[in-house]
């Protein structure tokens, strides 16, 4: 069962009773705070830390964390060609956010549009969309991404396309199923009787009810997009060498694992903490919008 299945099990009704306010748990804010720190680092970090991904400083290679270098202290050490690991972590956060958010936006727009149209009109459009979903669900998305990103020209846009090809399916499935149940509600009938056009009905009376579940799914998909991007760059596919990414940094440190563990460990920790925090937030949103407490 994937996250979209959990969201599908119980589509939210329009008049969901306000959830009883639970006892405030101060710990619950932690993931949000951590994500905030990452966003801040990704947004303003590159202005504070100077980093040239293609520059090499042979005298300062493989320095352990805390060593003094020509340009200050390397708090997280340096890599095999003398580049600062902390700077790689900060610049990598920016890459992860850009690609992650772009992938989720593309997937969300395509998925919600196709899912809502398929669910509302039924018939041939529904059949086409549903069969496409079946095909894409059966084949592992990361494999498709590996083939696309590996064979085409390198570039950020190619990675975004490669990850989006399989990523919209979850959004489409979710939107289709909620649309199909919302379509039968009274206010949609009322709109139809009053002569509101189909596109307007979809936009005004159906799509707003998708919002909550779609936001929950988008959070989960953001985590998986960040993870997939790191996996692709780890395999050396997709991003060109001048774009800093956590996956690339992790792969770069593999050869020096026995002598310079910090090159691999720190970018990996950065990736893991971010993905776990996004996952926690997504899980909370999912539970909230399915009104299924467990």
């Amino acid at each position: 069962m994937t996250q979209s299945d959990i969201l599908l099990t119980e589509a939210p009704g329009p008049a969901a009773p306000p959830v009883r306010r639970r006892r405030r748990r101060p710990l619950a804010a932690i993931p949000y705070v951590i994500i905030g720190v990452y966003v801040l680092a990704a947004a303003i970090g590159p202005f504070l830390i100077d980093y040239d991904p293609v520059a090499t400083e042979v005298t300062e290679r493989l320095l352990p964390p805390g060593s003094a270098t020509g340009s200050g202290t390397a708090w997280l050490g340096t890599d095999a060609v003398g580049r600062d690991v902390l700077a790689q972590v900060v610049y990598g956060a920016r890459t992860s956010f850009i690609i992650g958010i772009a992938v989720v936006t593309v997937c969300c727009l395509i998925g919600v549009a196709l899912g809502a149209i398929a669910g509302y009109s039924g018939g041939l459009p529904d059949a086409v969309v549903s069969r496409t979903i079946d095909i894409l669900m059966a084949f592992p998305g990361i494999l498709l991404a590996i083939v696309i990103a590996g064979l085409l020209e390198r570039g950020m846009h190619v990675v975004i396309i490669a990850l989006s090809v399989g990523g919209w399916v979850g959004f489409a499935r979710l939107s289709r199923s909620i649309t199909m149940s919302t379509r039968e509600r009274d206010w949609v009938d009322a709109a139809r009787i009053m002569g509101v056009s189909k596109p307007a009905t979809l936009k005004r009376h159906i799509v707003p009810f998708l919002a909550g579940s779609v936001v929950a799914l988008a959070t989960i998909e953001l985590a998986s997009a960040v993870l997939s991007e790191a996996a692709l760059s780890f395999l050396g596919l997709g991003l060109p060498p001048h774009i800093v990414s956590w996956g690339q940094a992790i792969a770069g440190g593999r050869e020096h694992l026995s002598t310079a563990w910090w090159i691999t460990v720190f970018p990996g920790i950065a990736l893991t903490i971010l993905v776990i925090c996004i996952g926690l937030v997504g899980d909370r949103l999912t539970r909230r919008f399915t009104r299924k407490r467990d």
Binding site: I142, L227, L235, G268, V275, L280
Partner: protein
């Protein structure tokens, strides 16, 4: 039931066609065709043209597409330019290692996931439940390739108890299998947890308790059995994700399977091997999904009926 199987088979065939077509399109969009890649950068224009003619790359795209579809039906993907032998042979040779790895990971995931799931589900809302559930959520979010490298760092380089790369022996299997099983352990644990938590409130559990059975007897004899079957079938449906994960994990541990072959073929633009490997993976996923679907439908009549609509 026949209708259900036929429908599933049709979707399976459609999926293979979709994968084959997608890979065909990507290969044609890629910079440098088979001929340029095979001959290398030093080849003259005339040589490339000659090979293009031999491979049929100078024909119209649609003709190429249909002749390619014909080749796929005969499972003939041409020769790998790197190894100079049929791509399908190459792929089939690597296949058993991948099966071994995924099977081992599945077994680990089911055993560990069941234990965690039962621990959490037997008292929903308890401290243990919250701890296990959070732990499972964390497991699911771990980047498998990085965890694999950390395992190498700890167990192969620091403690030197397990080999870091290669295949063949049981010791080689441990680290990749455990790494690959992590997200599925989390999945099985979460599913078992909700299954057990639901079953705990059933009347027959109360009956079992009032018979005087101990809590352990109630759990093993009545609760776990009832939450086991859906877990196994849904794991069958996850085989695609498992194979996708295996591709990355095999590369980390230099495991001589289909995945590491596919990644190196993509990196070297060995189109024949890329096509053969993707089709074989798609076939596996479809056959296993079909099997899981049929088992599921046999157990749960609601699924059969839904397929009719």
């Amino acid at each position: 039931m026949t209708y259900f199987i036929v429908k599933r088979l049709a979707i399976g065939l459609l999926t293979i066609w979709g994968v084959v077509t997608a890979v065909f399109i990507v290969v044609r969009l890629a910079p440098g065709d088979q001929a340029t890649v095979a001959l290398g950068p030093d080849a003259s224009a005339a040589e490339i043209e000659a090979l293009r003619h031999t491979l049929g790359l100078d024909r119209p795209l649609l003709v190429q597409y249909f002749s390619y579809l014909g080749d796929v039906v005969r499972l003939d993907f041409g020769e790998s330019y790197r190894f100079g032998r049929p791509a399908m042979d190459q792929v089939i040779e690597r296949f058993p290692a991948t099966v071994e790895l995924t099977l081992a990971a599945t077994v680990i995931a089911i055993i560990a996931g069941l234990i965690l799931g039962v621990l959490a589900g037997k008292k929903p809302g308890s401290v243990l439940d919250r701890a296990v559930s959070t732990f499972a959520l964390g497991l699911q979010a771990l980047p498998p390739f990085w965890v694999g490298i950390m395992f190498i760092l700890i167990f192969a380089l620091q403690l030197q108890v397990l080999p870091s790369a290669g295949g063949g022996s049981l010791a080689n299997l441990v680290l990749p299998a455990v790494t690959l099983s992590i997200p599925f352990t989390a999945l099985v644990a979460r599913m078992t947890r909700s299954g057990v938590a639901e079953t705990m409130s059933e009347a027959f559990v109360q009956t079992a308790r009032s018979k005087g059975l101990t809590e352990t007897q109630v759990l093993t004899g009545h609760v776990v059995k009832n939450s086991l079957i859906p877990v196994v079938t849904v794991v069958g449906l996850q085989v695609g994700t498992l194979l996708g994960g295996a591709v990355i994990i095999e590369t980390v541990f230099a495991w001589p399977g289909l995945g590491s072959l596919l990644v190196s073929a993509v990196g070297n633009r060995d189109y024949a091997v890329v096509q053969a490997a993707t089709v074989l993976i798609a076939l596996c996923v479809i056959v296993l999904n079909l099997a899981a679907d049929i088992v599921n439908a046999k157990l749960d009549p609601r699924i059969r009926l839904e397929a009719r609509r």
